[in-house]
Symmetry: C4
Subunit: 360 residues, 4 copies
Amino acid sequence: MVPDIAQLERRARALLPREIYDFYAGGSGREETLRANVKAWRRRWLLPHVLRDVSSVDTSLSLWGTALRTPVAVAPTAFQRLAHPEGEVATAAAAAQAGALFVLSTRSSCRIEDVGAAVAEPGGTWWFQVYVMRDRGLTAALVRRAVAAGAAALVLTADAPVIGRKRRDRGEDVVTPAEFFVNTGPLADAGDAEQAADVTFADIGWLSSLGGGIPVLVKGVLRPDDAQACVAAGAAGVIVSNHGGRQLDRALPTALALAPVAGALRDGAAPAGPAGPAGRSAVFVDGGVRAGEDVLAALAAGAVAVFVGRPVLWALACGGAPGVRDLLTGLTGGLAHAMALAGAASLADVPGLAYPGDTD
Amino acid sequence: MVPDIAQLERRARALLPREIYDFYAGGSGREETLRANVKAWRRRWLLPHVLRDVSSVDTSLSLWGTALRTPVAVAPTAFQRLAHPEGEVATAAAAAQAGALFVLSTRSSCRIEDVGAAVAEPGGTWWFQVYVMRDRGLTAALVRRAVAAGAAALVLTADAPVIGRKRRDRGEDVVTPAEFFVNTGPLADAGDAEQAADVTFADIGWLSSLGGGIPVLVKGVLRPDDAQACVAAGAAGVIVSNHGGRQLDRALPTALALAPVAGALRDGAAPAGPAGPAGRSAVFVDGGVRAGEDVLAALAAGAVAVFVGRPVLWALACGGAPGVRDLLTGLTGGLAHAMALAGAASLADVPGLAYPGDTD
Amino acid sequence: MVPDIAQLERRARALLPREIYDFYAGGSGREETLRANVKAWRRRWLLPHVLRDVSSVDTSLSLWGTALRTPVAVAPTAFQRLAHPEGEVATAAAAAQAGALFVLSTRSSCRIEDVGAAVAEPGGTWWFQVYVMRDRGLTAALVRRAVAAGAAALVLTADAPVIGRKRRDRGEDVVTPAEFFVNTGPLADAGDAEQAADVTFADIGWLSSLGGGIPVLVKGVLRPDDAQACVAAGAAGVIVSNHGGRQLDRALPTALALAPVAGALRDGAAPAGPAGPAGRSAVFVDGGVRAGEDVLAALAAGAVAVFVGRPVLWALACGGAPGVRDLLTGLTGGLAHAMALAGAASLADVPGLAYPGDTD
Amino acid sequence: MVPDIAQLERRARALLPREIYDFYAGGSGREETLRANVKAWRRRWLLPHVLRDVSSVDTSLSLWGTALRTPVAVAPTAFQRLAHPEGEVATAAAAAQAGALFVLSTRSSCRIEDVGAAVAEPGGTWWFQVYVMRDRGLTAALVRRAVAAGAAALVLTADAPVIGRKRRDRGEDVVTPAEFFVNTGPLADAGDAEQAADVTFADIGWLSSLGGGIPVLVKGVLRPDDAQACVAAGAAGVIVSNHGGRQLDRALPTALALAPVAGALRDGAAPAGPAGPAGRSAVFVDGGVRAGEDVLAALAAGAVAVFVGRPVLWALACGGAPGVRDLLTGLTGGLAHAMALAGAASLADVPGLAYPGDTD
């Protein structure tokens, strides 16, 4: 059955302490981007093909040599032990079981090595999301640990030089227990772990060398010119994202930003970075994806894969690892169903299935 | 008087068991296409002509040599005995009396031959809708029976390689009584009657040969390129349809899809299929048509005729054959009235009467 | 003070029998054009000029040699004695006192000659609206009487070859007392007075000769091509109208239709008809105008003058002739105020003050 | 923390007498421009840059040689003593403390010289807004006093040749105490102080000579052609404004008007006036700005600085000078935060950060 994510969220809301629910669910400013992210996908009409043989539908793909069973991937989110005692380890294991990519946050509340082991056991794939911290030595140490633990790519978050001001904060902010900072350990100065505000395109190369050549993706890109600059600086691709409406409020919804970015990387000069899927720089997207039809619309507009954030947290809160696995297989099933109805037997058939105009 | 279809639906809803009403009324996914189908027609403004002689308005047309008194036609819908004991036989007879085309579903709950006889008596026209089933022999047998019983054309449904997941299903699905499967009879394997997922353009030719040369239409086309491919493969035309919002949710509303498809067939290369009305491939449309003004807008945008589905079921449930006949003559009257007010004395005057822009 | 037309309508609704209020207020079909007419003006943003000398604002104009103090004119509406015992005589006198043009309906419930006298006394201007009736002799007789009584132009209603079906009719239709048919008198056959459905462009010339050369306008034009055809057939201009949403429902709102029609007559070939204002064919508009800003938007989009219908009926019902005069001077005052704020000292300064795009 | 202006307004509404709240909050006509001003900014999506060094964000700017710490400026509003006993003196001092520009209204309820002194003490900058009154001698006297008191520029209000008719006036209008007319004193004829309706482009030069060469800005410009005419007549720039929706209702929202005006002055012929920021005529904007993201959108669309009106009145009513200072520093902080998230380290980085399309 198609997962009903709205219902899942209602259940999680009832289960979680209010400040934790708000911490996950909320956005910055007036939450206009938060709402618009969801709404924008629903305004993308689909243009299905008919009379294609869809007796078998294949959602699998290959990313830089790694096979995945689904383009539905888990976005990096912070402190998952706030949602469930097993936190990132559970989520990562569930993703691996579902054949889905998992991205581990710098703000993980589980040890990097434990997550790596949880993914390796079922033979999965994970990437490491990097906040460049004020203390770059600390940052480099984490990256090296992640690579050693099996991260297959690095994701540089570029849209958070400062922390977005959340609407729902009320003084009674979420207090993250000290025990959750398992990867950095006690620091001489808490400020060292804060995000650096002076990260630039040059840091793509720095990360790339730290990673020993594994792909570096830049997350948080909404502009075609920035996407081209990332690739020119060595990125293997970009993730079109506005941080789920948690950073700059009124940033363009990702469903509107995706196609121009994908077009710029498709039409741009040959990238300097490592060749992505189909020999090109790869474009990913997140933000507001809540159903198989949303995933299809995103792939149709040029995304290689699609990241899901909050729904994974609701599934984790309600059902632990099995809940996350069911969510991912459910969304993948919804995608496969939509692909069949749209005449797409494989992901290669998907581009172009979205209506180009903006309608409501 | 113009039929008030919203009121008719309310009456049918009160009469029918809830699960049957939901089975007919519901759509797939979030029902976005279901709602958008209706809304999209209402956003098409009309551009009436003035100072034309409309002292007599003629809604008649000829389709491949068959005369019809109205371009309002009955769309194929399944298991009409769920709505009324006389089912498809009543609907078909009513359409024939109204001078309207009737399309019989593969999932008819009346015997094909009984329907053929009911239409023949008042001298009407009917077509047979074809789901290609997994057992192609079974499919061919049904098609041959339909042709023998007088079907004047075949309608290949192309947008249902799998069954759309309905929003309103709740485990307590409609259980269709075994007695309704009157045309297939007891099967060795129920799966044989399920829709095949490997139907392709080549099947147009297969059906055409089964039909002995009667026109084959493809139903469920939303894309201009697919429409051209259908014609190139031998189709006499296409029905622009998204299956009433019951298959791929978020598929483009038909009011938006119609004009580009009509344009593609008008401007495309000479079709290989049999010549349709005015020597060209014919374009039809269904989905969300609820008033004479909707019919006029559809014809103005390039449709040869317009299919109506759910309203026929409500009329059948509330009034049997007379109810269906009143609905069809009422809608035709509403069309004639709108034509007079728009300065169109015949259907040939209608193209171009719709405002090209999308407004609300 | 600017007249509050919404409040005036509420007062009239309370005063009038329900079926009479509904007869005036209602529209055809689903009343979509009725509602859209009003809404469409409010979506036209104004683009005021600054730093113009507006110490005196002049709303006067000249139409075919006749001076008017305001471009706010009274649209023809039927049977005004349903609203007030003095009916058209009161309305016409009030318009003349306000320096506004009055158009008398063929369906007047006062004698043509009485209306002519009521306008002549204060030195006003009136036109006669013509429904071509099945009995053309009867039609011609009425037109000759109107011309003899002082009508300065003829308005051929072209959008009513049949009567639009009203949504609010409930069997209990307004029964117009026989005494109201004061101009046709007892007829051998009531059908003789029904509107003819075979009126064509040729009737423009017929009316012109009946009128002895006074201007003939065509009312109900929404299409640029029809407007050009009217002028080519001898019309002095057109009134962009959809009959207040009472004829073809879903006809284009007049605020959307106006600019293309005005553009077509401005750019078209030299008209064969008599020269209108500024030596060109004149374009007028009605439908949904409820405030001085609406009038300004209409003039800015190319109208020479603007007709108001229902608000006049509400004013007549609530206040008789003085009520109508106050409404017309109030709307004119609202227009003058808006002109001053938009930097327009005279009507010649108004074209171009509306924003070209469609926004909400 | 980002100031919550909606909450501030609610508090002010509870504090102030209703007629004073309505006097400030209301707009003209149906208040369509009033509402649209606010809504239009929220429809401007932002297009942030990533991977820029924003470790220090600078909101400062220079206007004709004067340094300001923020592009958030105080719009001229009348009779501020209605909101708070200290009136304009408090507001002006608060702006100076915040490093923000203050514009004093001709309708100030504090003496011009007292305001000048209040700004001079913390070393701030203020401009004088000029209503050209019927008595030009009186006008000239006020302007000379303002210049003598330290006004750094003159702002000619051009959109108020007459007073807009307010929707919320109910006979029980605000009666401004005679003691508030501190700058004009008792006049032989009250009409002398009314706004002149014959102000033209020539008055720009008159004001410029009265001001001894300090910049003259024209406020109330919505059209590119008018903006060019202002500059050609000697203006140093324009303020895109519709008077907060208080003059011509249905005037274009400023968020829609800004970019075309900025484009016209950027692309136009070399201005005759004094060179503004970056050697060009300066474009400012007001109307509906309620958050740092609105300010960023305005600057991105070409504004040099942004004026805020009603929120300053609410802050003044609720908190006097400290309240105003907190509002201005709060909005500036919100802007700086948004700039950091958009990759803009200084105002020079801001142009182009807004999405060109109109979306909702």
